[in-house]
Amino acid sequence: MALAPAIIDLEQLKDHPSLFRLLAWNRNAVQGAKFDREEMTISIERSFIVGACSLLREDPNCPFDFLSDITCVDWYPSEPRFEVVYHLLSIPNKERVRLKVRLSSDNLGVDSLTPTWPAANYFEREVFDLFGIRFSGHPYLRRLLMPEDWQGHPLRKDYPVEGYR
C-alpha cells in the first residue's frame, strides 16, 4: 500500500471531531493541523494547551477521556526547538488525536496539565527530566528517572549519546 500524502488544509480537515470542536472554541488556539497515516495532529498555541485538553476531555459527543502519553521532540538546531506532544484517546469513540505545542529555546515554559488531569503527572516529570521543559503549575516538578543531582537533560539532541566526560 502506497502512502497517501498528508493533508494539511484546515478546510478539508474541519469535520474531524477534535478539530471541529477546537475551531468552534477558539480559532486562535489552532495553529495548524495535519492528517497523515490515519493520524490526526493539531498544533496548539502554547497558552491554550490546558484549555484545549480540558475541552476535548469534556466533549459530550466524542470525549477524549484518556491521556495516553506526553512526550517531547527536540528539533535542534532549528527554531522553535521543542515540540511537546500530547496523545489523547477517546475510549467511547475509539479515536485518537495528537496535540502539539511548539516551544522556542528562549522560553521553555508551558502550563502543566497535572492539576486538571492527574495522569499527566509522571509524563510531565519525565519530559522535564529528559528535556528540561518547565511545566508551570506542576505540584512536584522533580527529576523522575535521572538522579536528583544530574546535570543536563539527556534526550536533548545536543547531549552526546555517551554523555559528558
Binding site: 497515516r37 477521556d65 484518556f66 475510549i91 485518537r96 509524563f123 529528559l130 512536584y140
Partner: protein, 401 residues
C-alpha cells in the same frame, strides 16, 4: 528526607508518623522499585514511588541505531513480554513505511503475542501470590512458563530476549514441530488454570487479603491514566485488541474480562480469565493459520532469504545495503499502541527521512499504572501496599526504560 518534605501534606501530624523505606531491593517490589512510605503505626499516611534505578536511556540509544537495530533493544524494555514490544515497534515502523504484511506473518505474530501474554501473566500470578504468602502457586506457574519459554527458544533461539519479529514480517519460519507443541500446550493449559484457581480463587486467606483491598473507581483509574487489567478491573470495558484492532486481531473471537469492584481481587480475576481467553486465541490462531509468505514483498526493507543470496546478485546487493546503510523511512510521525499484558504499550516514532529514527518514545503502561498506587494505598494498612504493588503488575524495566 528533604525530598519528601517538598510535597505538602494536609493534616499531617508531624510527631506521630515515621518514614519507612521499602526497596529498592525488597523482594516484593518486583525489581528495583523504591517506595517511600510515611506511616502512622500500621496505617499508610503517604506513599511515594521513587523510580529510575533501571534507567538505561534506551530512547536515546535508539536514535543512534538503524531502524532494524532497534528491535533487540525493545526486548529489554519489558523483559516479561518481549514479543509484545517487538510487535509494537515493528507495527509502528511498518505504519511509517506503509508496508503491508502477509496474513501468515500477522497470524504468527498474534499467536506468539498471546503466548507472551500467558507467560507474563504466569509470572505475575506466581510472584503476586508469593508476595501475599501463597508459595505453591509460584511453582505451578513456573512449570507452565517453562514450556512457553521452550517454545520461544524453538522459534527464536532465545528464551527471553526473543527479537523474533522484523520490520516487514518475521525473522525465520518456525520449526516443523512448533505448531504441534503449541497445540499440545494449549490443550492442557485450561486444566492448569483450574489448578491455580483451585489454590486461590475460593481460598479464604487469599480472598481476605485481596477483596476490598486497594480499591480504585473507574473515574479515578481513567483520570490517572491506568490501562489494561488495572482499568478493566474497575469496570471500564476497553481492550485495544478488540476496540482498535491491529495485526489481524479483528479475525479473532474473544471476550474481554472485566470486573466492577476495582480491588486487588477484581484485577486478579481479570488476569486469570485473560489466561483462558489468550489460550483460546492461541487455539484459534493454530486452527486458522493461513498459508503463504512470512515476509512482506519489499526487497529494500526486508532481508532476502539466505538461498536467494547465494544465487541472485540483486538479493546480495540488497542484503549488503540493508546491513550497512539501513533503509530510509519517509518523513513523518506515528503513534502505535498495542495491548500489552499490562495495558496500553505505545511507540511514538518520528522519522526525518533517514535510516535512523529521529526520536523513539515508548509509552509505558506500567509508568501510568503506577500513578494509581498512592491513590490505592493511602489511608490503608501497610501490609496492603504489597498486595497493591503486586496487583498492578509492574515491570521496572518498562517503567525506567
Amino acid at each position: 528526607m528533604a525530598h519528601l518534605d517538598a510535597m505538602p501534606v494536609v493534616g499531617r501530624e508531624q510527631d506521630r508518623t515515621m518514614i519507612l523505606n521499602m526497596g529498592p531491593q525488597h523482594p516484593s517490589t518486583h525489581g528495583v522499585l523504591r517506595v517511600i512510605l510515611e506511616i502512622d503505626g500500621e496505617n499508610v499516611v503517604r506513599i511515594m514511588p521513587d523510580i529510575g534505578f533501571l534507567h538505561t536511556g534506551i530512547e536515546k540509544t535508539c536514535e543512534a541505531k538503524f531502524y532494524q537495530q532497534v528491535v533487540p533493544l525493545t526486548d529489554r524494555i519489558d523483559y516479561l513480554c518481549p514479543l509484545t514490544n517487538n510487535l509494537c515497534y515493528v507495527l509502528a515502523v511498518e505504519k511509517l513505511l506503509g508496508l503491508e504484511i502477509p496474513p501468515k506473518a500477522q497470524w504468527l505474530r498474534v499467536l506468539l503475542n498471546e503466548l507472551t501474554r500467558i507467560n507474563s501473566h504466569l509470572v505475575w500470578l506466581g510472584t503476586h501470590a508469593m508476595d501475599i504468602g501463597a508459595m505453591t502457586v509460584f511453582l505451578y506457574c513456573f512449570r507452565e512458563r517453562e514450556e512457553i519459554l521452550r517454545l520461544f527458544e524453538a522459534v527464536s533461539g532465545q528464551r527471553m530476549m526473543t527479537s523474533y519479529f522484523r520490520v516487514g514480517g518475521i525473522a525465520l519460519p518456525p520449526p516443523l514441530d512448533f505448531f504441534d507443541r503449541v497445540r499440545a500446550f494449549a490443550k492442557t493449559f485450561p486444566s492448569k488454570v483450574d489448578e491455580y484457581e483451585n489454590l486461590l480463587t475460593n481460598n479464604p486467606i487469599w480472598t481476605m487479603r485481596t477483596k476490598g483491598v486497594a480499591t480504585i473507581t473507574a473515574e479515578d483509574a481513567k483520570a490517572l491514566g491506568a490501562s489494561g487489567p488495572t482499568l478493566r478491573g474497575s469496570g471500564v470495558d476497553f481492550d485495544l485488541r478488540r476496540d482498535m484492532p491491529y495485526s489481524g486481531y479483528e479475525n479473532f473471537k474473544f471476550k474481554v474480562p472485566t470486573a466492577k469492584e476495582g480491588d486487588v481481587f477484581a484485577r486478579y480475576m481479570c488476569r486469570v480469565q485473560e489466561l483462558r481467553e489468550s489460550n483460546n486465541m492461541v487455539q484459534q490462531a493454530l486452527d486458522g493459520m493461513p498459508e503463504g509468505p512470512i515476509k512482506a514483498d519489499a526487497p529494500k526493507v526486508v532481508l532476502p532469504d539466505r538461498e536467494k543470496m547465494k544465487t541472485q546478485m540483486e538479493a546480495l546487493i540488497y542484503h549488503f545495503k540493508i546491513i550497512t546503510e539501513g533503509f530510509a523511512v519517509p518523513e513523518g510521525e506515528v503513534y502505535q499502541a498495542v495491548e500489552s499484558p499490562r495495558g496500553e504499550m505505545g511507540y511514538y516514532i518520528v522519522s526525518d527521512g533517514t535510516a535512523k529514527p529521529y526520536r523513539v518514545h515508548m509509552r509505558s503502561a506500567c509508568l501510568a499504572n503506577m500513578q494509581t498506587l498512592p491513590h490505592m494505598c493511602e489511608g490503608r494498612l501497610l501490609a496492603d501496599v504489597v498486595a497493591a504493588i503486586g496487583s498492578i503488575d509492574i515491570v521496572l524495566g518498562e517503567i525506567d526504560r
